[in-house]
Amino acid sequence: MSAAPSNIVIVGASAAGLTTAAALRRNGYDRDLTLVDAERHVPYDRPPLSKHLLTGEWGVDRVALKTEADLASLAVDIRSGVSATKLDVERSILSLTDATDLPFDRLVIATGVTPRVLPESAHLAGVHTLRTIDDTLALSEELVAGRHLVVVGGGFLGTEVAAAAIGLGLRVTLVNSRPTPLERSLGPAIGAEVAALHTGHGVELRTGPENAVQSLLSSAGRVTGVLFTDGSTLNADVVFVAIGASPTVDWLNGSGLSIGDGVECAPDLSAAPGIYAAGDVARWENPAFDESMRVEHRTNATEQAMHVGARLVDGAPDAFASVPYFWTDQYDLKLQVHGWIPGYDEVRILEGSLVERRMLAVFRRGDRVVGALGVGAAKALRQWRQLIVDRTAWADVVGG
């Protein structure tokens, strides 16, 4: 990749793709720039979908990532409603669903993730996942007061949707095969507090290994309940499934790129000469943790996009080092987490509790502080973030 780029194509025009385009312009790239996205809506932000959009607090126009004027000033060709179906790395050509071929001299892969579904549920009415505006509007239409919503999955998305539905006057049961919600990511102690928060608001919890969902029950093409692996059942008017998501990489089959759990990138986020990935779809070796990771958080999408936007212009192989950040809104509490905590060895609550609306907890992996969770403790969190960046030893700041 010696010649300067003059025809950059970005697949996926959401948080990562659109920010890459903006960063390219910001860095002085003034040649051809094309974004391809399967979506028909103007580029929008996803975190509000399960929060303000689902509850009806915000309208659809509020979730747009850029105003029309800002979008126009980027001078990009956005092909919306069109998907990439095939990538030919050797010839530098992308095939699209509108039967055209798009040549490029640099490519950015920003196709995000796709929600996982329960087997044989795709065509059942009353079963929902949540990734797009259309998903949100379809779910929101069914969240009618008095109905019984069963949420399958006790992660961030499942708990946020449970909270939204309670606010809308539904009866809500949250089903999770772990003993407490958010336990997989935040551990049992914080999970227990999250459980208390939800039951306090009226959510019924069915948690623990005996509550693993085996399949959905249906009648005349509409869901009627869930079947658990122990043979018991639970009736439902609506089922919301939030059991994780998989990188959207099917269109890269046969491209020769290295695909595993995501597009496997070098530390500088390149997947091949002149080809980069950014956002939820990208897996890379993060020098801040010396670990391979793929981060499904909103801030990571922007930060990787800024990095890729700079590398495309300067061609330098600088590594993308980052301490991830995410937040989740649980009722009127905002939980904020800095760091990389999957596979942590120990979590310690240093201060407060969710009930007190102020809490600080830290996570250890090996002998290092790798994460900090805060509620109403933004200032303290900033100091912990710096300690994580500095690779501080647990023994030095938390003790034995």
Binding site: A15, T19, A22, A23, R26, D45, P47, A64, L65, K66, T67, D70, R298, T299, A301, T302, E303, M306, Y325, W327, K334, Q336, R358, G376, A377, A378, K379, L381, R382
Partner: protein, 64 residues
Amino acid sequence: MKVIADIEVCVAAGVCAAIAPDVFDQDDEVGKVILLDANPGDDQLDAVRDAVLSCPSAALRLVE
């Protein structure tokens, strides 16, 4: 140059305060953006542009 911050949209990531600490701060609790200088000088232009681009909730806008 005028900076506009939408407090309601802000998700308290603190990216702006890290990039342009003379222009943005965060409150100590939730961490929502505090605009220290709504009309920053030209010497801040680069940092503010980066902050606007980097904000993960599109809460910041720059009117030049």
